[in-house]
Structures are given as structure tokens and as C-alpha cells.
């Protein structure tokens, strides 16, 4: 919303520097996005009349123009444009004048002819982008005047951002009212002066849809269509609208001034000389002023002529059929109140947002329609020879009564933390149009006041809304800042959140960097990662690449690894913690949303001078899993060889926590790597972190280390290739019993001597008792139990 200061001053004696006024506007929530001083860069440009035009003797495209700056001393300029005629008043920048961009004029020769300055096009004056020709001013413009005065350029325009709750501030008068209140100066909204009425053939008005159009004012009359005078054109231009003709300009002017959108119909073109307001038929069409045919639905409101032929989409845009034109002599002026949600729906569905719809959407003042129509006729009279006809039509079956809201002084202070009295509160509200009336006896003794809310403030329905008004005008930054004192101080992270932080820290320590990938993926992303290309779909994705909710983190993380590889960074270790989305459980609407952890390791590890390079393999991923399990102190977790989507068969394992599979770890399938353009091996894991973080943890209880010596034995078994080391270790640990202090695999060995599909697994076992030194016999017995158990469970034989 562009608010020229000169226009605001029509309503209140507003004084102050532009920056101070901007601060005040910001302070009351009318956010200043920019301050424009359109004439700031122009100096010394004057108005002149064209006296004579002749061709430049040496240049076909140039003209020699004699102009009169008002003092009778004609001067000659060379000009490249030809859109003016003798007698036109145009802007002239004489030598010494300044134009935007720091351009200072000098007298100079152009193709041998002296030019005393130049005539200016609008773009040269910084007024618009128009460079189609010299700017032609109104014929009655006085000569020799400073152009800034003539065009009203010695002005400041505030570009304001108006929040959706402030329909009143979508008008110059509304901004002036708020600003005047903040500055403590009086605000006056002049009452439109009446003018002589004439008799015209009466028009008719029927409102079929009063719920969507609670009020419709129609005022007919006679007008003479012509270009607007300079002041009108300037004000509209400064407020960001293009002047069209005096009649149309008046409707726009009043909309900007009072916030009430108006529409002028050519009365002669309204069939049956009347208006019908009705709902559209499903599929009905209308061609709007922008020459687009619009198809309507039964939820759209139409303004039709008396023959029920559509003439406008109510509150959004007029139709071409009854547009005011140069031959219009009688108009029907519409000033209506359409309900906000209806206009919002229509404008949203049509993708058509206009100055008019923007105001109706927020809610216009139902009790301001007649005044706006009268104001328009006052202006028609002034600049369009307008004469209103007798018998204004006003369909307002159920007048909107202003509501009353009770405001408790104590409540104001409770919410704001202020110490305001009833009178200061009243002093903030009254200038905004809230009319206080003391509550009748017995209602409240401590300063509750009932306020009548002006109907231009539909946002103020409740006590809290009035409290906001008090806060705005008291000044948010004048409220003393305090700190809340929790009555029951608690807080801190939950064990789940602590655990997640521990996992992050552990993975950082293990050399991984954290990635954030999009939770929106494409079916192709999933297919590339070896997963079914399915997921929960979006209703309205912007791009196919972001059409599914990810069912796993790994596809995105693999893509991130591929991105790095593509940028010459083939060796990365990344992890991500994020939500994944599975179809809703039966009977529920929301997805089964889980938190997952994924890890990807690519390329070569330890590219160091003191060690040989080594490509990543599944053990690297398992190592990171161990780090996570260790950081959390998981009580019961293991890996079970298992196939998993996207992993290389035979080189993957299920992650089992508390007896339940929570994910997979291993090496990424070569086909997946090929699709993603990842050359080397890729190790990866993905687990349901929600499960991991809530899994059972080792008990944290101290056990005093035994003082007695340990007995260590090494056992190498020959087993079938299919026997997992982890399973063998669990068997041994079970057989070894409570005296086992530590166990680990220290060698895996295969040879021809062992035979095909056989391997040797060597374990180190350390036994110790807490209360004595173990005897050779005891250790020998334990050793035999281990050997027997291995033979029984895995068909293992002790390697000789």
C-alpha cells in the first residue's frame, strides 16, 4: 500500500521527517518497506509551451523546437522525439538543471545546432519507464513553473506492508487515522459535499444473494468522460495506479482513499437498466476487463444487469460488456459490501487478485459504502461534470450493528505487564474510533469499560483484540521487560534427546560428518537406491523430484555421496538423522513416522603416508554401529547375516536390538552404485533410531575388578563358511559361563588345507574369578565345554 504524505495530510496535520514518520508507522505495525521521494533527483526542470517545430537541417530524426518558458524569451532545443505539437506544455530541463542519476545539463551543440537543455520523457525524469515520447502536461499548466510543484513531486510516498488483519489500513484515511493517533494530532474525515441532483430514468436493483452481498449501494448519474486533471493523475500515479479516465480514476481514487472498492458501469450498456446480484451458474463464463474468459462455479458471486447477463465478478473484476468508455454519458456506481471469505475463495480459485479483491478479502466497512459512493459523486462533480440522479439504491436488509467489547483495565495490565489506568487506555483507543461507554452499575467496579467497535475494524471482536490496540499505541518497546519466573522449574533434555545427541557426538568422533537431505524424494531416487519406488505421495508437489515422502534416509544420503563424488570428492563419510514416513497404521490418518539414522562411507580410508590405502568395506559401517551402540550402552544388540534391499547379497546383515530387527548394515549393491555413479565400494547402514534410542541399556552398576590373575586361552575352530563369527562367539560365551571376563575373534583364516567352504575362526578367551585364582583343572574344564558347545552347535572341530 503506497501512502503519499501529501494525501495523508488531507486528513491530519502530520508533521515530521520522513525517517521519524517511518519509525512511528513501524511502531504501530504499519511496516514501512520503502520511502520514495519521486522528485528528489530532479532540480530546475520547468514547464514550457511548444511554440514552433522544424526539422534539424543535418539530421532527419532530430527536430529543432522553440519553447516558451513563460517569460516570452523563446529558447531553442534539439529534440529526438516527435510526439508533441505546437501549443503542448512539456517539461524542459534548461542548462544547469539536474536529472536523476546525477546528470547535469549544459548548453551544447547537437549536429551543429545549439540546444539550450532538453525536453524530457517520463523515464528521463525518473517518473516511470516510459520512453515513448516527451511527457505532455495538462494544457492549462502554468508556464515557467518548477515541474516538481506542478506534478506534486515534492512529496514523500511510504510503501507500507499491511498485515492481513488490518482492512482499515488498506486506505489512505485509515493509515492517517492510525498515524494521527500515534502522533497525537486530530484526524478528520470530511463529509462528502452534496451536489445538485438530476432526474434520470430510474435503475433497478435486486440482490439474490444477500448472505454474500449484505449491502449494495448503487448511485446513478450523468458524467462526461475525459482524461483526469493533473492532480488526480499524480495522486493515483504516486499511489501506484495508472490513470485511465476521470470516471474510472475517481473509483480508484476513492478506493485508495477510503478502502471501499467501487465499480462504475456504463448505465446505457446495462440491459434492462438495472443490477441483479446473484450466484453464478456452474460453468457460466464472463470475459473480464483484462480480456480473459473466466469460467465460474456455483460458489462465485456475479454482478449482472437486469437481464441477468453477467457484468462483473463481484469484488474481483469487472466485465468488458458494460465498461465505461469515451462515449459513456450515464453511469451506475456500485459501492457494495461483499463478504470476505467468498471473495477470497473466488479470487484464489481464479488466480486473480486485484486491488479490489485484496480489500474485500480483508473485509471492508459495511457502513462505509454509502459515504464512499457520495465521495465518488463529489469527485465526479468536480472533475467529470458529474450530476447524481435522485433515488440512490441501497439494498441493506440487515444492517451491521457495531459490536461492543468490554475491556477490563486489570486484564490489560495482566496481559501486557503494564500499569495503565483506565483513562490512558481510553486515550489510546478513542482516537482509533473506539467509543467508550461506561458499563452500567454492578457489572464491574474496577475500571471495565465497554467500547463500541467501529465497523471498519472487523479484526477487533474480543477483549484481547482491544488489548493489542492498547499495546500498539502504548508502544511495544515501552513495555517494561521482565523475565517469567517458572513456578515449577523443570526442563532439560529427555533421555531420548540425550541419546540422540550422544549418537551424533559418537559418529562425529568416528570421523563422520552430518548431512541434511530433503525428506521429499522422487520414485526414481528410491529405484536408484534399490528400493521399491513407492512412498506416501504429495497431493500438490511442485516438482516430480519432490513428490514422495521418503520411506528411508539412505537413498538421499547415497545421492549426497554421489554429489560429492561428482565434484571430485570420492572419499566421504556421512550420516544423517531424520524422519521417514511409512503408510499409516490401520485406523490412523497420519503416517507411521519414525526417526532413522543412516550412514554412508565411500572410497578410500586412511590415505596416510604411514599406512597403506584401503577401500571402505562393510566392517567400516559395522565399526560405526559399534560406536553408536557403545555410546548408548545398548544391552542387547547383534548382527545377523541377512539380505536387505539395496545391499550386496551376502555382504549385509540385519541389526538386531532387543531381539528385533531395526535395520541393516553392509555394502551397497554394485547395481545401486552404478546407477548413482559411485565408482568404488560403498558401506552403509540404516537403522530405526527411535527403536535404538529406546532399547534396553546396560545397567550402570559398579563391579570391582578382580585382584586375582587371569587365565587366557586361545581356541581355533574349523567351521563351515556359513557359520557367522558372531554366532560362534555367542555360543562360546554361553558355554564359558560366568567366569569369562572377555572374548574376541583374533583371526579368520581360509586355506586349501581346510578345504572348500571351510574357515578357521580363532578366539581369545580370558577367564578370571573374583574370589580366587583359577586352577588348571577349572580352566581345562571350561575349555572343554567351549569345544563341545562349538561341536554341538556349529559342527566345529578344534583346529589342530
Amino acid at each position: 500500500m503506497k501512502a503519499p504524505l501529501s494525501w495523508l495530510r488531507d486528513f491530519a496535520p502530520i508533521e515530521g521527517t520522513p525517517l521519524d514518520l517511518a519509525d512511528t508507522l513501524n511502531g504501530i505495525g504499519l511496516i514501512v518497506e520503502g520511502i520514495v521521494a519521486p522528485g528528489r533527483d530532479i532540480a530546475g526542470v520547468r514547464t514550457v509551451r511548444v511554440l514552433a517545430v522544424e526539422k534539424h537541417p543535418d539530421a532527419d530524426r532530430l527536430a529543432l523546437v522553440d519553447v516558451d518558458p513563460g517569460d516570452g524569451n523563446a529558447v531553442r532545443v534539439v529534440c529526438g522525439a516527435h510526439n508533441y505539437a505546437v501549443g503542448d506544455v512539456v517539461p524542459w530541463a534548461p542548462p544547469g538543471a539536474e536529472l536523476p542519476g546525477g546528470f547535469k545539463l549544459e548548453r551544447r551543440k547537437i549536429r551543429g545546432q545549439v540546444s539550450d537543455g532538453m525536453l524530457c520523457a517520463p523515464d528521463e525524469l525518473g517518473l516511470s519507464d516510459d520512453h515513448s515520447g516527451i511527457m505532455i502536461l495538462a494544457p492549462d499548466t502554468p508556464l515557467g513553473e518548477d515541474l516538481r510543484t506542478v506534478l506534486g513531486l515534492d512529496d514523500i510516498v511510504f510503501d507500507l506492508e499491511i498485515t492481513p488483519n488490518r482492512p482499515d489500513a488498506m486506505s489512505i484515511a485509515g493509515v492517517a487515522r492510525d498515524l494521527a493517533a500515534a502522533l497525537g494530532v486530530p484526524f478528520t474525515l470530511p463529509v462528502p459535499g452534496g451536489s445538485g441532483v438530476i432526474d434520470l430514468a430510474p435503475a433497478t436493483l435486486v440482490v439474490d444473494a444477500p448472505d454474500r452481498c449484505p449491502r449494495y449501494v448503487a448511485m446513478t448519474g450523468r458524467v462526461a468522460v475525459a482524461p483526469s486533471p493533473g492532480w488526480m493523475a499524480q495522486r493515483l500515479t504516486k499511489a501506484g495506479m495508472r490513470p485511465i479516465s476521470n470516471v474510472v480514476d475517481v473509483t480508484n481514487y476513492v478506493m485508495l482513499e477510503l478502502g471501499q472498492p467501487l465499480h462504475a458501469f456504463d448505465l446505457a450498456l446495462l440491459g434492462g437498466r438495472g443490477i441483479v446480484v446473484r450466484m453464478a451458474e456452474e460453468g457460466e463464463t464472463i470475459t473480464t476487463l483484462d480480456d480473459v474468459e473466466r469460467t465460474l462455479t456455483g460458489a462465485d458471486l456475479l454482478i449482472c444487469d437486469a437481464n441477468r447477463v453477467p457484468q462483473a465478478i463481484a469484488g474481483v473484476m469487472g466485465g468488458g460488456g458494460s465498461e465505461v468508455s469515451g462515449v459513456t454519458t450515464e453511469v451506475l456506481l456500485e459501492s457494495a459490501f461483499f463478504t470476505a471469505d467468498g471473495i477470497l475463495r473466488t479470487s484464489k480459485r481464479l488466480g486473480l487478485r486485484t486491488e479490489s479483491s485484496a480489500r474485500f478479502e480483508r473485509g471492508v466497512n459495511p457502513n462505509g459504502t454509502a459515504v464512499a459512493a457520495e465521495r465518488a459523486w463529489e469527485l465526479f462533480a468536480e472533475i467529470a461534470s458529474g450530476q447524481p440522479a435522485t433515488g440512490a439504491l441501497d439494498a441493506y436488509p440487515v444492517p451491521v450493528e457495531p459490536i461492543r467489547v468490554t475491556l477490563r483495565t486489570a486484564r490489560v495490565n495482566e496481559v501486557l505487564g503494564t500499569d495503565l489506568g483506565t483513562d490512558p487506555i481510553r486515550a489510546y483507543l478513542e482516537p482509533l474510533g473506539f467509543v467508550p461507554s461506561d458499563v452500567p452499575d454492578g457489572r464491574d467496579s474496577n475500571g471495565a469499560v465497554e467500547y463500541t467497535v467501529p465497523t471498519y475494524r472487523p479484526d477487533c471482536e474480543r477483549e484481547i483484540d482491544l488489548i493489542e490496540e492498547v499495546a500498539r499505541h502504548h508502544g511495544y518497546n515501552n513495555i517494561v521487560r521482565t523475565m517469567p519466573r517458572p513456578t515449577e522449574p523443570s526442563g532439560g533434555l529427555t533421555p531420548f534427546q540425550e541419546g540422540r545427541r550422544a549418537v551424533r557426538d559418537a559418529l562425529l568422533g568416528a570421523g563422520l560428518s552430518e548431512a541434511y537431505t530433503f525428506s521429499l524424494v522422487s520414485p526414481a531416487d528410491l529405484a536408484a537406491a534399490g528400493l521399491p519406488p513407492e512412498g506416501i505421495e504429495l497431493e500438490n508437489p511442485l516438482r516430480a523430484e519432490e513428490s514422495l515422502l521418503r520411506p528411508a534416509v539412505l537413498p538421499g544420503l547415497l545421492k549426497a555421496a554421489a554429489f560429492n563424488a561428482g565434484h571430485g570428492l570420492p572419499d566421504v563419510g556421512l550420516f544423517e538423522i531424520g524422519h521417514i514416513f511409512l503408510p499409516p497404521p490401520a485406523g490412523q490418518t497420519l503416517p507411521d513416522e519414525r526417526e532413522h539414522l543412516a550412514v554412508v562411507l565411500t572410497g578410500t580410508v586412511f590415505r596416510l603416508p604411514h599406512e597403506p590405502n584401503r577401500t571402505v568395506d562393510g566392517h567400516d559401517a559395522v565399526g560405526r554401529l559399534e560406536v553408536v551402540a557403545g555410546a548408548l550402552g545398548l544391552a542387547d544388540w547383534s548382527l545377523e547375516p541377512d539380505a536387505a534391499a539395496g545391499f550386496t547379497p551376502g555382504r549385509a546383515a540385519a541389526v538386531v536390538v532387543d531381539g528385533e530387527s531395526v535395520g541393516a548394515v553392509g555394502e551397497v549393491d554394485p547395481a545401486v552404485r552404478a546407477r548413482l555413479g559411485l565408482a568404488g565400494p560403498v558401506a552403509a547402514l540404516e537403522v530405526n533410531l527411535s527403536k535404538v534410542l529406546t532399547a534396553s541399556r546396560r545397567e550402570r552398576r559398579s563391579v570391582t575388578p578382580s585382584r586375582y590373575p587371569a587365565s587366557t586361552i586361545d581356541l581355533a575352530f574349523v567351521v563351515d563358511e556359513s557359520v557367522p563369527a558372531g554366532a560362534a562367539q555367542r555360543t562360546l560365551a554361553g558355554a564359558a559361563g560366568g567366569l569369562l571376563e572377555d572374548i574376541g575373534v583374533f583371526d579368520v583364516f581360509r586355506s586349501d588345507a581346510l578345504g572348500p567352504n571351510r574357515k578357521s575362526l580363532a578366539f581369545g578367551l580370558r577367564f578370571r574369578a573374583s574370589d580366587r585364582t583359577l586352577t588348571d583343572e577349572e580352566v581345562g574344564g571350561l575349555r572343554q565345554r567351549c569345544i563341545d558347545a562349538m561341536a554341538e552347535h556349529h559342527g566345529a572341530s578344534l583346529r589342530g
Binding site: G27, I28, G29, I31, T163, P164, R166, D341, L344, K348, R362, V415, L416, G417, T418, I464, I467, E468, A471, R472, Y476, N477, I479, V480, R481, M483, P484, P489, G491, G492, T494, Q497, R501, G509, A510, G511, S513, E514, A515, Y516, T517, S519, I536, E537, L538, E539, P541, F563, H567, G573, L574, H579, F581, T589, L590, P591, L608, P609, H610, E611
Partner: protein
């Protein structure tokens, strides 16, 4: 040997030992000196054997002299041994410790996680807890309970991505973390002192400033007697704690459906410390987020009595915070996961 002779001998030997020991250049030479001055054939040995011939009353003093000699020579030997070992480099293989160390090295936390955790810490220190919620939400939690009934015009403030679940437009990708406010309040009665970080979604095309996926953090306080002054004070306290002393905040009226009064808050520009720079458009202030007093309609949706309790909420975007604070030019950098970017932080 008399006591005097004995003492004189030890003094002379001690002086000689000092010279010899200091001259020793190798461990072997030092061992030689040790034998010469403390060994079986040393003067010490001779003195020890002669003590028994002394008068009984002289024996303690002789013993003291012997002890002093042994201590002095031993210390000298030790000192020399240490000195020699310090310079005994040629005996071991040199280790070039300027080579990179062994180990996986330390990784890097994503910048958004870092910013989020730093912010969480500030509020944990103020006694808040951290709450989380689902990223896919029903219309009720994302809009309706936040005082945006169906067709409320303020819904157009967010470009919403809808999920093909439930009734049409019933399930959304949350456009803000505010639904977590509702879930927290539904789950219990006040007091509530909570921050809610999380991932949010908007129907935006990825460009320098916008991303369909982004992160927010919100705060919610509900208790008896919470005021707008408490809100302003909390924003101020957070500003000081996070950006450092000398940083302050200011509020200006704004509009959000779920707060009333509503405000936007700005903080002293942390690039120029308020002097005015290109980042803050020469104003000295950076617009950070929105805040306000919880609207009574929100309390009604969760069954809180708005006469008994008042509360405030605030929120802002983590990407924007990180971009301004660390000079990140393109929001895309947060989601490309280029390790050259990740490793900067």
C-alpha cells in the same frame, strides 16, 4: 684414618666425581663413573671399611659424611643421566610427528544442528525443555487449533504441501513447528516452558533464499501471570545469551493468527553490531522472527483456561539465522551436503 682424614677424602672424591660425571658423554662412561665413585673399588668403599676403626663417638659423624657423599654423587649421576638421555636421539629412529595423526579424524556436525543445539542450550539454561512432533500433521494441528479455521484468510500466508492421506487437504506437511505447541499443551496442564525445533515444509522452489524443506525453532511459555513484558524480556535475554552482551532486541506489531498481540522481533545486527551494514540494510537491526501472546482461541482449542493462564510464543527460521550469522549465501548449501561446505563448521 681419622675422622678428619676420612672427611677430607670424601670431599676430594666428591669434587673429582663432579668433574668426571659432567665429562661423561655416553651412558657407558656414566656407568664407569658410577663404579669409580660408588663401586666396590671406590674411595667410598675404603671409607666404609675404615669406619669401624674410628672411635665410637666419631662414627655417627662419619656415617653422616658418607651419606652426604652418596647423596651428592648419586644426584649428580642422575642429573647427568637425564641430560644425556635428552640428547641421546641418535640411538632411536626419528618419528616425524608432523605427519597426519592416525585415526578417523573428527567429523562435522551440520551447521543447522549446531545452531539448533546452541539455541536449545540457551533455553535449557532458562529452565525450558525441548519438545518435538511429527512432520506430517493434520489440518487441525497445523491450522485449525492455531486459530485458523477452514478458509481462514491467514492460511494463505503459507504455501502448503498436502499429503495424499485422509480427506482432501486433511493431511499436510507442517508449515511451521507451531503444531507442536498444540501437542504439548494437549498433553498436560501448565506450566509449560518449552522450545520446539524441527523440520518444516513449504511449497517453494529452491532458490537462494527459499527451500521447500527448512527448519524452525519455536518457544512456548504458559503459566500464571505471563505478560507481554515477559515475552519482550525473554527475547532480550535470549538475544544477549546467544549473540553476546551489548546485543538487544526490539518488537514491532505484526499479525499471526495464533498470537494476540503479535509482534515481529528484531535483534541488533550481529554483523555490524548495530552500526549499519549491507546485511541489515543499514538499519542496524535484523528481523529474526515472530512472537506474541498466545491467542485465547488457541488456549480454548487445547482446553486451557485463558483467564487463569496466559502465555507467549516465539519462533524463527534456523536457515536464515545460520545464513546471516555465518555468511552462507545460498540456502541450497545446507542440503547439497558438499563435504567442502560441511567441513567448514
Amino acid at each position: 684414618m681419622t675422622l678428619e682424614e676420612l672427611a677430607a677424602l670424601l670431599d676430594a672424591e666428591q669434587a673429582r666425581a663432579k668433574d668426571e660425571i659432567d665429562k661423561a658423554e655416553t651412558a657407558a662412561a656414566l656407568e664407569e663413573s658410577e663404579r669409580a665413585f660408588l663401586g666396590k673399588r671406590s674411595a667410598l668403599s675404603t671409607v666404609n671399611q675404615s669406619i669401624k676403626d674410628l672411635a665410637p663417638e666419631d662414627r655417627p659423624r662419619a656415617g653422616q659424611a658418607v651419606s652426604a657423599y652418596k647423596t651428592a654423587v648419586t644426584e649428580r649421576l642422575e642429573a647427568r643421566r637425564v641430560a644425556l638421555s635428552d640428547s641421546a636421539g641418535e640411538a632411536v629412529d626419528r618419528l616425524d610427528l608432523t605427519l597426519p595423526g592416525r585415526g578417523a579424524g573428527r567429523g562435522h556436525l551440520h551447521l543447522i544442528t549446531q545452531v539448533q543445539q546452541e539455541l536449545e542450550e540457551v533455553f535449557l539454561g532458562l529452565g525450558y525443555e525441548v519438545a518435538e512432533g511429527p512432520e506430517v500433521e493434520t489440518d487441525f494441528y497445523n491450522f485449525e487449533a492455531l486459530n485458523m479455521p477452514p478458509a481462514h484468510p491467514a492460511r494463505s500466508m503459507w504455501d502448503t504441501l498436502y499429503v495424499k492421506l485422509g480427506r482432501p487437504e486433511e493431511v499436510v506437511l507442517r508449515t511451521h513447528t507451531s503444531p507442536v505447541q498444540i501437542r504439548v499443551m494437549e498433553s498436560r496442564q501448565p506450566p509449560v516452558y518449552t522450545v520446539m525445533p524441527g523440520r518444516c515444509y513449504r511449497r517453494d522452489t529452491l532458490d537462494a533464499r527459499h527451500s521447500p524443506v527448512f527448519h524452525q525453532i519455536e518457544g512456548l511459555v504458559v503459566d500464571r501471570g505471563i505478560t507481554f513484558g515477559d515475552l519482550a524480556g525473554t527475547i532480550d535475554a535470549f538475544t544477549r545469551a546467544y549473540f553476546g552482551p551489548g546485543h538487544t532486541s526490539r518488537l514491532r506489531p505484526s499479525y499471526f493468527p495464533f498470537t494476540e498481540p503479535s509482534a515481529e522481533f528484531e535483534v541488533t545486527c550481529f554483523v555490524c553490531d548495530g552500526a549499519g551494514c549491507s546485511v541489515c540494510s543499514k538499519t542496524g537491526w535484523l528481523e529474526l522472527g515472530g512472537c506474541g501472546m498466545v491467542d485465547p482461541n488457541v488456549f480454548r482449542a487445547v482446553g486451557y483456561d485463558s483467564e487463569t493462564y496466559t502465555g507467549f510464543a516465539f519462533g524463527f527460521g534456523l536457515e536464515r539465522m545460520a545464513m546471516v550469522r555465518y555468511g552462507v549465501e545460498h540456502i541450497k548449501s545446507f542440503f547439497e551436503n558438499d563435504v567442502r561446505f560441511l567441513k567448514q563448521f
